[in-house]
Symmetry: C2
Subunit: 322 residues, 2 copies
Amino acid sequence: MTPRESGGPPDGLPVRVAMDGLPARVRIYEVGPRDGLQNEAAAVPVRVKAEFIRRLAGAGLTTVEATSFVHPRWVPQLADAEQLYPELAPLAASGVRLPVLVPNERGLDRALALGAREFAVFASATESFARANLNRTVAQSLAMFAPVIRTAAEAGATRVRGYVSMCFGDPWEGPVATADVVRVGVRLLELGCTELSLGDTIGVATPGQVAALLDAFGRAGVAPGRLAVHFHDTYGQALANTLTALRHGVTTVDASAGGLGGCPFARSATGNLATEDLLWMLHGLGIETGVELSALAATSRWMAGQLGRPSPSRTVRALTGD
Amino acid sequence: MTPRESGGPPDGLPVRVAMDGLPARVRIYEVGPRDGLQNEAAAVPVRVKAEFIRRLAGAGLTTVEATSFVHPRWVPQLADAEQLYPELAPLAASGVRLPVLVPNERGLDRALALGAREFAVFASATESFARANLNRTVAQSLAMFAPVIRTAAEAGATRVRGYVSMCFGDPWEGPVATADVVRVGVRLLELGCTELSLGDTIGVATPGQVAALLDAFGRAGVAPGRLAVHFHDTYGQALANTLTALRHGVTTVDASAGGLGGCPFARSATGNLATEDLLWMLHGLGIETGVELSALAATSRWMAGQLGRPSPSRTVRALTGD
């Protein structure tokens, strides 16, 4: 007998042992192509992005946020949205959900013209980040989103997601009041959003904060089925926070294949929770996801090769030897 | 207003929000100087090791496993135990606990001669690893430990820890039966061990496995106060597993400053849970540890400089800019 060179389990999968109080199934909302690649310094060619998204869907991911129809000046990495989205038409036709971020009515119009029918808007829980990211107050940004969400619904969009960023901490303001997050989230739902994604944009949250915020949404009448969690792994807390959210009834988890979303070896390492690290835990807990871990890890390894640096995902490195 | 360059909270500390069902205080059992450095390819000079341990204690860690009195042939990285341990006499005199690993009676004699009074033995839950690591069956290794534990107690040792490795998975055997782990652990306690450390040596465990093993020890009459958990972050699961153990009443957690314990950029990345990532979670949860995070992160950054590569701890990188 000799051990596998990686030291991992022979089949490359975790042992399955369920735990009480967790959902039977989790939907992974893959954000790598948008939230991940928008932070890459180097431009990624359209054909590589399209191939990446096709491979993600091939691994079993049913929801992949494809790009953002933001003005190219603000996010040059995603300036190719008009070229990319049509490439994905066969995927969309096969039933893969490919939501796109739209910052305003002009972005929505561009996306609608290309046939997109699932959208996301990006709000902030804090005034500082609203000003920095949108050059508006929180109230002004919500007013800007109102017609976007309404027009999307009128155009036949069945789902419009509302991101709430800086839910747990803000680099300018420090701690963020739970009441502020709930107020912005509830307002987005009132405006017509069908789901909220609660973002720990700077990755500082710990499980007690997560539990407290989810409890506060519950008191405000928002069921956990309408909430997704979106953690960054800046301080290594993303998976413990996710476990806490699952215990509170959340069944939609945002993650980024390979942990894309920030250089892991530099200051401001703000990578998203890696989809593979999440999958290792979910599969170990016997929670269904429909995603094949080995195919996803191979995809992330391929993408790491395209980007020229190793994946920050520990599971990708353990499984693929990077 | 401008954000801190790191994007983190202005004071470098997490917001504190407690969560039900967790202990008020956790003892961190720091394993970096032993479990971490024994995996370093390059030899670390004795003076650097001594300085490392002094700095760890200076940051508030009260238990630091200092070295191993194993035969130098097997672990050349720790062949300097005889030189290192006397350097630490002032620390020990000041009340810092400095347990040392002893593989057999000969190692114990060497450690006792230098004045060590707190020890650990290292057993395996699986036959394959017992054979690979100790060249013995599990039963033979336990028989070897019996006189070590007895002699240590007779010499005045108040604490003898029993490590149980491969508690959740084994690279040769795959899944490990809970009953096997409990049998080895209970036997170590019968032989006189005062504490067990349950090791996920290859880092594959997920929270359901952790909960199941701790429940099984409970059914065997072992209180969680006699158990420590020892997670490796190979698949990114260590902190989620730790949170699960805390919910099951465990209050002693093994961790390695800076995540020492395996090259993070190579195959078989088997680093320990980083003490700083653990501290971020514990402090965020309002759990007392007595450890100052900023001083510890600075220590790990210094040690990373000595080793010539960045720390794999996400919290260290976020706080120190590596």
